[in-house]
């Protein structure tokens, strides 16, 4: 399994150190950077591609919600906020909040929660990359050399749907040519 990558944005040196040692105690984690400001937030995210970003809310206020949302969608990371204790339900973008002076044990639990959410979520992404039953049927027809029209007739779907399936197959497998798809289909037959 791959490590869960963390990045921490926090002004206070002590909090940074504290969180770093806490995260390190959890198995399968890795901290790829700690920062005292959010100045080059976007480029850090792009370069590090983290799974979890822990960030003080003060720093977060310099980044627009929009940017944050767009980045978290594109790079698929979770945000944990460090706050002054006031629960703020207006921030749906944070999946968890840490409070100043919160118990170590509590924080560890929260981090573990987010990690487990994350791995469930990743599994989903992986399943999405697998080809569906319908797509497999189309793939097998392609491998047999049938035309789109023939496939449509055989599977009782429209030619347009066949094309959509084929596009998805190519996207998911990364194989473009008919002979490449044929090789894939044979390799993956009934095993």
């Amino acid at each position: 399994m791959l490590n869960t990558i963390f990045i921490i944005f926090e002004k206070s040196y002590l909090i940074r150190q504290g969180l770093t040692s806490l995260v390190k105690e959890i198995q399968g984690t890795e901290i790829s950077g700690t920062y005292n400001s959010s100045d080059s937030f976007a480029s850090i995210i792009k370069n590090m591609n983290p799974d979890i970003v822990i960030m003080n809310k003060e720093l977060y206020s310099t980044i627009t919600q929009q940017t944050l949302k767009a980045l978290s969608l594109e790079y698929n990371f979770r945000l944990i906020a460090i706050t002054n204790g006031l629960k703020d339900s207006k921030d749906p973008i944070f999946c968890k909040q840490f409070f100043y002076g919160e118990e170590k044990l509590e924080i560890t639990k929260k981090i573990a929660d987010v990690i487990s959410q994350l791995s469930n979520n990743k599994k989903k992404v992986k399943d999405n990359n697998k080809i569906s039953g319908r797509e497999r049927a189309v793939l097998e027809c392609v491998a047999k050399g049938l035309t789109n029209k023939e496939i449509a007739e055989k599977l009782f779907i429209s030619a347009h749907t066949v094309i959509t399936h084929r596009k998805n197959i190519v996207k998911k497998l990364g194989i473009k040519t008919v002979s490449g798809l044929t090789v894939y289909a044979i390799l993956n037959k009934t095993r």
Binding site: G174, K176, S179, G180, T182, N188
Partner: protein, 251 residues
Amino acid sequence: MQNVSLITKKQEIASLILLNIELLPLLRRFDISLGVGDKTIHEICKAKEINVDFFLEIVNIFHNENYFPATKLKKFSIKEIVNFLKESHIHYNEEIIPAIEELIHKLVWAGDDHERNLKILKKFFDEYRKEVKAHTEQEEETVYPYTVFIENSCIENKKIDECYKKMKEYSITNYADEHNNIEEKLTDLKNIIIKYLPPSQNQDIAIKILNKLYKLEKDLYHHALIEEKILVPKILEMENILKELNSSEKA
């Protein structure tokens, strides 16, 4: 043009190869043997009677990912381009592809599916070999001779009539429209070996194959670039000149 470090004729040919090992196959296609000493590109080209502008154009295309050929400024002949392209074809068909084929034959898989996997991989690559052969043959038998003919007529200003007739049947735009991408299957094969083939017992060979596929893919990409961005525009220009000549002759 970004991040381009242009190669110039004052550079030593040895430093060129040390800079980018992927340029090595080009020496063969220009019939330059290793043991080049400290000769510059200019000196070697002079000794070998290679058009230095053309040589530079080719190495720059292969060296700089973003280099865009500047056809109109450079003076070199169609014959030179065609010769280089033919040499490249020989290299692909007679050496690079057979070498990959041989490696594929050497692959051994773990498990019961060994025979079947080997068979489909061989079949896939066999088809590919034929596809490349057909592609290059068509170019050598039809396209290249046509381009040389057009160049000759343009230079000698002769046989304009005959030339015009030919152009009515076939134009370089036909070639440009139909010229297809022969790297696609290689990309697929790379994908299949990396992702979908069950592990082979012989990882060394699998890695060697991938390395070779990667290099050939790049090589073919640049080759097609020369065909489409140098050869085609040059011939197009000549076709236009010939068309004008023909109409003024009739007038």
